[in-house]
């Protein structure tokens, strides 16, 4: 028997998702956003989802489309505002979607710490601001720090550049962003890659996410470029 985490299609990798799941979506804006996996998530028709991502989607592609299909109950993100945001804005203004605003570094560390088995941590970020209200404050060396709790997910949807059959991942430029830390913080990590590593295994020095953090991989070799698709008026489904 050989380990093989490679699956044939987006539908195959999305088969375990359920109503009410907490789902992390990699990406910073469109870079590293797993658009085709999100479209696969739309196809599952799962509802009442909690989404953890940096942003809240643009147009009606990817996360913007998922929110537009009313499948999302709550978004946890650092920056939900965007000139091209349509669906989140409309639901938020009508009180039909919850928003938890998290400073971007705190969001990253809440995710990383979950993956590292750390339930919470103290940080100076947000001390003295509305985002620290109601949270425990502790003083270290005369300075105030706020307690932040780690963030786990049932699933992480990830976009990477390459994988081998072990699920060892590489990324492309700033499309890396939240993807490696989200791989670590979910019960099941589902990845779309542009290509499968040609060799039997990836050069160990080039691997950014070791396969232990990855469960299922599928190929999307010509992924949608979100901004171009939106400019062309494309929508999903």
């Amino acid at each position: 028997m050989k380990i093989n985490k490679l699956f044939n299609s987006v539908n195959d990798v999305m088969s375990d998702v359920f109503d009410g799941a907490v789902i992390m979506l990699g990406g910073f804006g469109e870079a590293g956003s797993p658009v085709e996996l999100i479209h696969g998530l739309i196809d599952t028709k799962c509802k009442e989802l909690t989404i953890i991502a940096n942003n809240a989607g643009n147009g009606k592609i990817g996360l913007g489309a998922l929110i537009g299909e009313n499948q999302v109950k709550k978004v946890i993100c650092s920056f939900a505002r965007s000139p091209k945001s349509i669906t989140f804005k409309e639901l938020y203004e009508n009180n039909k979607i919850e928003l938890e605003v998290v400073p971007q570094g705190t969001l990253a560390e809440r995710i990383r710490s979950a993956g590292a088995g750390i339930p919470g941590f103290y940080t100076q970020t947000s001390v003295g601001t509305p985002l620290a209200e109601g949270k425990e404050i502790k003083i270290f060396n005369g300075k105030e720090y706020v307690l932040e709790k780690s963030l786990k997910a049932d699933f992480a949807l990830i976009k990477a550049e390459t994988s081998d059959r072990y699920g060892n991942l590489t990324y492309n430029k700033t499309a890396r962003n939240f993807n490696p830390i989200m791989c670590m913080a979910a019960n099941q990590t589902i990845v779309q890659v542009k290509r499968i590593e040609k060799e039997e295994n990836t050069d160990p020095e080039k691997i950014i996410t070791p396969g232990i953090f990855v469960n299922k991989v599928t190929i999307v070799n010509n992924p949608i470029i979100e901004s171009i698709a939106i400019d062309n008026g494309e929508t999903y489904p």
Binding site: F28, G29, E30, A31, G32, N54, S78, F79, A80, R81, F88, K89, Y92, L99, V101, V102, P103, Q104, G105, T106, A108, E109, I111, R112, T123, Q124, T125, S126, V127, G128, T129, P130, L131, Y171, N172, K173, T174, A175, R176, N177, F178, N179, P180, I181, I208, I225, E226, S227, I228
Partner: protein, 215 residues
């Protein structure tokens, strides 16, 4: 429009003053909007490394048409370039650079700054609240520069005794650069470092709610 807006240094002139202030070898993060102008000005006698919090250290100029890569973007989500010596990292490492005190300077826009160095720049309390990396930058960077018009468009002061808007950080601002003046935040309040040549101190004080220490 008001008497404090169409006067003073241009945005480019302010940007150049900031760019030339960084010591050789500094690691610098520029906020989205007006602070992005700072990278246009390069003091050839020094090398400055720009950090973009989405995992890019050694950020270069905006990408030209033939360099466009939607997977090489800055924190404003615009296509950029990477310079020799640059590197990519994931978000937790990128924010460790910020929160761990490794960034020497950050430059941010402001809605309000108080004489105690409090900054408000992330929400007016209306619309969708969105904070991004601002709260991390203000506590993590060794020096926090604000780049802003001296007043709002309708002439209300932005440099105040106390901020009225929700804070981004408390006692965090090092210095403010405006069209009218450069003010250091000191334990005694705003202290004048440099003033636009064609105004006098009374004019500057009139545009500022907090008291400015001259001399």
């Amino acid at each position: 429009m008001n008497e404090f807006i169409n006067i003073g240094w241009t945005k480019d002139e302010i940007a150049k003053k900031i760019a030339y202030e960084f010591p050789h070898g500094s690691y610098v993060n520029l906020g989205i909007g007006m602070p992005e102008l700072v990278s246009k000005f390069v003091d050839e006698s020094k090398e400055i490394i720009y950090h973009s919090e989405n995992g890019l250290l050694g950020m270069g100029p905006p990408a030209k048409e033939n360099e466009l890569d939607y997977e090489l973007i800055n924190a404003g989500k615009k296509p950029v370039t990477i310079l020799p010596g640059g590197s990519y990292c994931h978000h937790a490492d990128s924010f460790s650079m910020i929160r761990g005190g490794h960034i020497d300077y950050c430059v941010l826009g402001a809605m309000e700054v108080s004489e105690g160095g409090d900054l408000a720049n992330w929400t007016t309390g209306k619309g969708i609240p969105a904070v991004g990396g601002a709260m991390d930058l203000v506590v993590g960077a060794k020096n926090v520069f604000v780049m802003s018009q001296h007043t709002t468009k309708d002439g209300s002061p932005k440099f105040l005794k106390n901020c009225s808007l929700p804070l981004t950080g408390k006692s965090v601002v090092t210095r403010v650069y405006s069209n009218l003046a450069i003010l250091d935040v000191t334990p005694d309040g705003f202290k004048l470092k440099e003033m636009y040549e064609k105004i006098d101190f009374d004019f500057l004080q009139k545009a500022t709610e907090a008291k400015i220490i001259s001399n």
